[in-house]
Symmetry: C2
Subunit: 188 residues, 2 copies
Amino acid sequence: MPRWKPDAVERLQTAALELFGEQGFERTTVAEIAQRAELTQRTFFNHFADKREVLFGMSSELQQEVVREVAAGAGSSPPLDTVLRALEVVADKMFESRRAVVARRHAVIAANPELQERELGKNAALTDAIAAALQEQGCEPATAFLAAGAAMLAQQAAFQQWTRLDETRTLRELLPDAVRALRTTVEG
Amino acid sequence: MPRWKPDAVERLQTAALELFGEQGFERTTVAEIAQRAELTQRTFFNHFADKREVLFGMSSELQQEVVREVAAGAGSSPPLDTVLRALEVVADKMFESRRAVVARRHAVIAANPELQERELGKNAALTDAIAAALQEQGCEPATAFLAAGAAMLAQQAAFQQWTRLDETRTLRELLPDAVRALRTTVEG
DNA sequence: GTCTATATGCGGATAGAC
DNA sequence: GTCTATCCGCATATAGAC
């Protein structure tokens, strides 16, 4: 018999998302989260650097996946297309299946400035990682930065549409529309 | 004779930037900043919501200026050009004259993740404000978001170049190069 | 000045792996 | 039988609310 129930991290993430949704991020204490997950406050901070981080466990995983896809597909097409293809593949794999959870998480983040800041940080880190992966393939630093930033911009536009209640298309379907709109806007 | 020395906010900002540069953000306490500015800790928190905010006083001012410029120049040109023109004008007015201070501030922020997050938040707020200003002029929400984001992307690329030690051109001169590079990258 | 909450450092306990 | 991963307890620094 194991000394502790398994999946401590997942239990903490689930409990946190529930409580943040029920009563808000600010009015939820780490002690409450730990209690609902049947763990202690200390254990929470063993797994997450701070209270916000419990909502961003998927980010590092997502970054790894995207970087891997970029590295795999680079060289054969223009940098922007490489990144867009990578984002499409990863979006399919990691977002489309958990639409409900992603939507609840998004609502929680949208309701709190601190969490928005953290999300922006994660996005910036992802952009940097993509740019670095492109440079690995011989892309110029400035071009890599712009390609990564432009792809993330289109991805964000598509994501915004995806989270609308009346939207039923997948991210993969929405991204090309966003890219077309971006091209039109940038070209003049 | 005035009861207190004038320019409390400015003195606090100057003292904070000095101390952050000398000993780092983390190792500087609010009490130290207040002391150097010949004020109390209480006064610091009357003017700034938290320790980070003392570095971002110019942000709201900058946002106002940009929004005003966007509103003034909208309609006569494509959205992206409108935003770029606004950023050029404001960059001239608010950055070029204080190159040394801006550079020191940038170095301090680059050295600390918390400050980077806050800066990303400010940039996102600026992007939203620009998009809102474009919508006021009849621009579609999605187009406004993309134009604002693309302009900010080019601006960031130009700013990165501007902060290099061996760079002597002004932001106004660097921005068109960044825009050309962005157009090339996005078109394929 | 007290109280609560966040966050960290350090040590201790034990089930399961080797 | 020892080692490691995982979790817990205690003390404490920091910060903000009241």
